[in-house]
């Protein structure tokens, strides 16, 4: 873990990094370093010994049970979470690889079904300033919009993850603290897990030739920090915390709201809880 220590930037630097997302150049080095830590964190447990705790100083994974909440009522579709995630986790900047994304649901007058798009839609990509920065195009400006809202999406870190079930090597596994991670040093890149995930949360990392996905910023949460997307959200639409702690934001979120999960019929039992989503949300 000496290497992890060495790569870990001080907390202040990290917060600075997150607060200056607009200036990618200044933060480039930090992003690279952060990614190295992310890789080390996810690779800390070899598949054959999935029950063994990763050696993260001062962290005991049996003490936490992480959970995530999304309040779609609050989301304004600014997409800072998407940009922060890409930088924090060194995700390819193209519109085909996302650890988190935001969907827009718009119901026009006289229509039954909502029209859905995400920041990766070609129209929205065309309206975005540059690669790695995302915007929702104002495509419904002249339409009679009856209802519209945004829904942030990410890996659901399911209790019964279909991706973990199908992995032939055990390279992807569920940690004691409830996070589904991938051992990038053990994954063979067969993409069976990509097929099995009903939420489209997984993708293939062409740089490393392994599958990749959201880890709830495992490298950050095990240091007492929030996931990057939660930290940058300007409206508090994303909530994260320890479900073992009844006073944590996530426990309060679940207690005080009527929450639901996505595609419960799959039996995956997701651990991302939603408030304010509609029947059309898929």
């Amino acid at each position: 873990m000496d290497e992890n220590e060495r790569l870990e930037p001080p907390d202040k630097e990290r917060r600075d990094f997150l607060s200056c997302l607009g200036s990618a150049i200044a933060c480039g080095a930090a992003a690279v370093a952060a990614n190295s830590v992310a890789s080390s964190a996810t690779a800390a447990t070899p598949a054959a010994a999935a029950a063994a705790e990763p050696a993260i100083p001062g962290y005991d994974w049996s003490k936490n049970q992480w959970g995530f909440g999304v309040d779609a009522e609050k989301c304004i579709g600014c997409l800072r979470c998407v940009e922060a995630c890409k930088k924090e986790n060194n995700v390819a900047l193209d519109p085909n690889h996302f650890r988190t994304w935001v969907e827009r649901y718009v119901t026009l007058q006289g229509e039954d079904k909502a029209r859905i798009d995400s920041q990766a839609d070609p129209v929205n990509i065309a309206a975005s300033p540059k690669e790695g920065e995302y915007r929702f195009a104002n495509r419904y400006k002249n339409a009679n919009v009856e209802k519209a809202f945004f829904v942030p999406k990410l890996c659901n870190h399911c209790t019964n993850p279909a991706c973990v079930q199908v992995c032939p090597t055990g390279a992807t596994y569920k940690t004691e603290d409830g996070v589904v991670v991938i051992d990038h040093t053990y994954c063979i890149g067969c993409q069976y897990c990509v097929q099995a995930c009903p939420y489209g949360a997984r993708f293939f990392n062409e740089e490393k030739n392994v599958t990749d996905k959201c880890t709830w910023c495992y490298h950050r949460i095990t240091k007492g920090l929030q996931p990057a997307c939660v930290e940058v959200c300007p409206v508090g639409a994303r909530v994260f915390g320890d479900r073992n702690d009844k006073q944590s934001p996530i426990s309060q979120f679940i207690q005080n709201n009527r929450v639901r999960v996505l595609k419960p019929e799959t039996g995956n039992a997701p651990n991302v809880f939603y408030v304010g989503i509609d029947k059309d949300v898929i």
Binding site: N96, I116, C187, I188, G189, C190, G200, A201, F204, T266
Partner: protein, 390 residues
């Protein structure tokens, strides 16, 4: 990075990560090859186990075809893996809940079984070569004989018992291997197009028809090349098998599709949009029309009319070629088609396979040619005809 990714255009709404289709034409070729293995092995077993003596001229040949295809089966998988050098991780530390983890063991078991069976079949030939050849050329044969040079009637009867036992174990082996490939797809709950209990059975039956068709084509071709007459009774038995298994396959595919439509679960709108749109040519015209209905009609006609001679040979071989293409289309429509229907149930992707590259059409084509090249070599080393005709 740009050159590495092959994003597919879409209509409606698909999850952003879905635009990179995970399983490509190599994963179309993989179940196709395992299907050919199971099918060719079925023909061989019909003779070895079930006493279909009319199949004697092709029994050993079919075994070699099965072996050549099986040796090639891991290749498309290895080519597809992001880290092929780690492929053995699945065998060293198999994750037992994965439908795919046991593949390495199942495949290894079956290859070993095929090699042993082939050795028993060709033992007399190996012994004969070891005695006939002189100098350095004799050595490989001597080594291959493993010191077992007794070809007396008593020894041969002992060999026959072994062959019978191996063929019996091979039947569940070959069919289990392929049925399990169907399970790999059918057990995934994330995709409505794949998620079906009938998938393993349909895979298996279509495997048998593709293997039978391949044996028919290669047998007729080998007869032309060797300038010997095609054994018509042998050809007829294979045509009957093809007809029977095709009937079953078509019925099951029909039942599966009808259930999917009749259940009409969420997402059926987009599935119907897919079926009525992009699937019309590959499925209804190529797979069903030209590849299944036409050969079925032609074979029925040939049998009904009692056609014989060259017309029968041309008719059945032509039908077999169509069947081979139809099963390839079936694999394509299942593997690629399943991924073109978005998990959102609100959109469709249009995957256009690249020609070049590790996962392109050219690579897939080469993978399909390799077993044929292997077969050309093996047939010269272990002629499957003379012994059968003796």
């Amino acid at each position: 990075m740009e050159a590495l990714i092959h994003a597919s255009p879409f209509t409606g709404y698909v999850y952003p990560n879905e635009t990179i289709v995970p399983w490509t034409v190599l994963i179309v070729v993989y179940p196709y090859l395992t299907g050919l293995v199971a099918g060719a092995f079925t023909i061989s077993s019909l003779y070895q186990v079930f006493g279909f003596t009319q199949l004697r001229p092709v029994a050993h040949f079919a075994l070699l075809i099965s072996l050549c295809c099986m040796i090639t089966v891991p290749l498309p998988l290895l080519l597809h893996l992001g880290h092929p050098e780690r492929a053995f991780n699945a065998m060293i530390t198999p994750h037992v809940t994965s439908a795919f983890a046991i593949f390495g063991y199942a495949a290894a078991f079956y290859i070993i079984l095929l090699v042993i069976e082939t050795w028993f079949v060709f033992r007399p030939h190996i012994v004969q070569q070891a005695q006939k050849q002189t100098g350095l050329l004799a050595w490989p044969w001597r080594i291959l004989s493993l010191g077992s040079v007794d070809v007396s009637e008593k020894a041969m009867s002992y060999d026959r018992k072994w062959l019978f036992a191996l063929a019996i174990i091979g039947i569940p082996g070959a069919h289990g291997l392929h049925g399990y490939v169907g399970f790999v797809f059918g057990s995934l709950k994330s995709r409505e197009w794949w998620s079906s209990d009938l998938m393993p059975v349909i895979f298996l039956l279509s495997a048998i028809i593709s293997g039978t068709a391949l044996v028919i084509i290669l047998y007729v071709l080998s007869c032309k090349l060797r300038k010997v007459a095609v054994d018509l009774s042998c050809l007829k038995v294979m045509a009957f098998s093809l007809w029977g298994f095709m009937m079953f396959t078509l019925l099951l595919e029909g039942v599966e599709f009808a259930s999917l439509v009749y259940r009409g679960r969420e997402g059926i709108d987009v599935i119907m949009e897919f079926v009525k749109g992009p699937l019309v040519i590959p499925f209804f015209i190529l797979q069903f029309g030209f590849g299944s209905a036409l050969p079925l009609a032609v074979i029925t006609f040939l049998i009904w009319r009692g056609t014989s001679g060259t017309s029968l040979i041309v008719g059945i071989t032509g039908c077999s070629i169509l069947v081979l293409l139809a099963v390839l289309m079936m694999r394509y429509n299942v593997v690629i088609g399943g991924q073109e229907i978005s998990k959102t149930a609100r959109g469709l992707l249009a995957y256009h396979p690249p020609i070049f590259g590790r996962e392109g059409l050219l690579a897939a084509g080469i993978v399909l040619v390799i077993p044929m090249v292997l077969l050309m070599v093996l047939v010269r080393l272990f002629p499957p005809w003379e012994k059968a005709a003796a």
